[in-house]
Amino acid sequence: MKGPGKRSLRAGLLALCGLGLLHVSLFTDLCLRYVKEGMRLPLVASGAVLLLLGIASAALDRTERTEEPHDHSGLPRVSWLLLLPALSLLFYAPPALGAYTAARQPAKIVVHDSDFDPLPATSPLPMTLSDFTSRVREDRGQAIKGRTIRMTGFVTPLPGTRDGEWDLTRIILNCCAADAQSVKVRVHGGPRLPADTWVTVTGTWHPGGRLGTKSAPVALDARTVTEVPRPSNGYQDALPLG
């Protein structure tokens, strides 16, 4: 049976892989759940190459060359595993990493290298979670004291703690979702929301320890908590919109 059937299978497998990659990178934003924005172009190119290979294989591999010792027409059995990611990308794409992953990691260690600039006067002040963390733990000038801050992230509930305490979270990638790290800000107050809900929180620093040193808690007393739509590229510590 090692004949035309096997060749059409191979062509189909190559084309499916190509279509899967094109589907997540060119036609939709799904690839941003797995890799960084910069990988989009290589993914589109790879998808196109694989699709072309599949078409070429279907069109050109009509002549069998089985008499030769180096027979390229066989389909290695392990190749079937490629069907899993291809079909998964096309029909059953898993969601981006969220509260489950963040809850099982310690918070990423944020280090601020240069001096702190004075904070702008706007209120509430939009900030990233990393910025807030370094301001709380490293800014000896305590510029954040008494300021109203606004930050956006998703909800990671804390099991076993008092009501009204949860982690505002962002997951950050270096390369792909396998190396995800999370930045977290403990939020006191606000409604009890389900895990992975994206919210914008305004509030003030939750006092404790000595501000500007490692003893200060990276925490916020929430004044308002509003639900927001998930940003299309969730794996970055960006400023809140609006």
């Binding site: 049976m1 004949g3 059937g5 060749r7 059409s8 299978l9 191979r10 497998l13 190559l14 892989c17 690839c31 759940r33 797995y34 890799v35 990988m39 993914l43 190119a45 790879s46 190459v49 290979l53 070429a56 294989s57 050109l60 030769e68 010792p69 180096h70 390229h72 027409s73 066989g74 290695p76 059995r77 392990v78 190749s79 079937w80 595993l81 490629l82 899993l84 990611p85 079909l87 998964s88 059953y92 794409a93 898993p94 969601p95 990493l97 969220g98 509260a99 489950y100 099982r104 990691q105 310690p106 260690i109 290298d113 270096n174 390369c175 792909c176 979702a177 396998a178 190396d179 790290q181």
Partner: protein
Amino acid sequence: MQNTGVLVEDGRPAAAGDEAGTPAPPRYWPVLLLGAAVVPGGALFLLGRWGDAPAVQAWRTVCLAVTVQALPFLLLGTALSGAINAFVPEGVFNRILPRRPALAVPVAGVAGVVLPGCECASVPVASSLIGRGVTPAAAFAFLLSAPAVNPVVLTATAIAFPGNPAMVLARLLASLATAVVMGWLWLRFGRAEWLRPVVRHTGHQHGHSRWDEFRRGFQHDFLHAGGFLVLGAMAAATFNVAVPRSVLDTFAGAPWLSVLFLAGLAVLLAVCSEADAFLAASLTGFPPVARLAFMVVGPMVDLKLIALQAGTFGRAFAVRFSAATVVVAVTCSALTGGMLL
């Protein structure tokens, strides 16, 4: 019994189609396609029902992420290997490389600088180099050094460790030393029978179009290596989800233990060599030598690489070579780190 009957019935018209010269699918392919469509979904559905659904989702996300991130690099590597196989005349590499294998090894190791990619690309390229007559020891030195010392990876390391150029230098030297030592070890102790005969890299055959040979070799290598990549990604995702990051900090105290622990972690995590510097930088509880070991071992040995090597060179080779590489890499990074960091 009923199933067999259906298969036999299905088989007959297909065989008749073959005789008539028209392409007909083999009798088992609807079964395969149906199985491929239903079994993973069904298994995941049951898993999601039975187990911790977010855990399964995180596993699928990480598994897909490793695969998707690596595929463009794998494609680049297999295209390059197909091109070397079809377009480069036999003997070219032997004219460039020094005649004595003991000298060819360090030259090939340094030549790894030119392949700007991560580790997935280097396996098929090394395989096609052997097919083109390069001595295996030199090809393995290239295989180990290419993902670790190329400019992209060194730049990423410099960015991940700002104000610490010693780390970049240590990574470069330790990786090169490991690659060269492994090449020499192979010259001294390696046996040809551990290597699966690389039948498909036979080079250009007279009377065939080079482009056609390129395409066929390319697609065959990609399908083959891609399958093993998925296998490795599954293993890495399992570890990634099953072992929470907080466990790692318990090992940070003891210096020697932490070196061995981070080396082992590099094998299990299978992070791309372009990203591992950032991860190493984030493991702040560990001494610099341990983080160096993480960055030296990672691009040379990890779960997806072992799977790729087993597929390309054979299991007997992959097991011995990976085990020896871990030992040499840990030693080299401990020595280099002790001197520089």
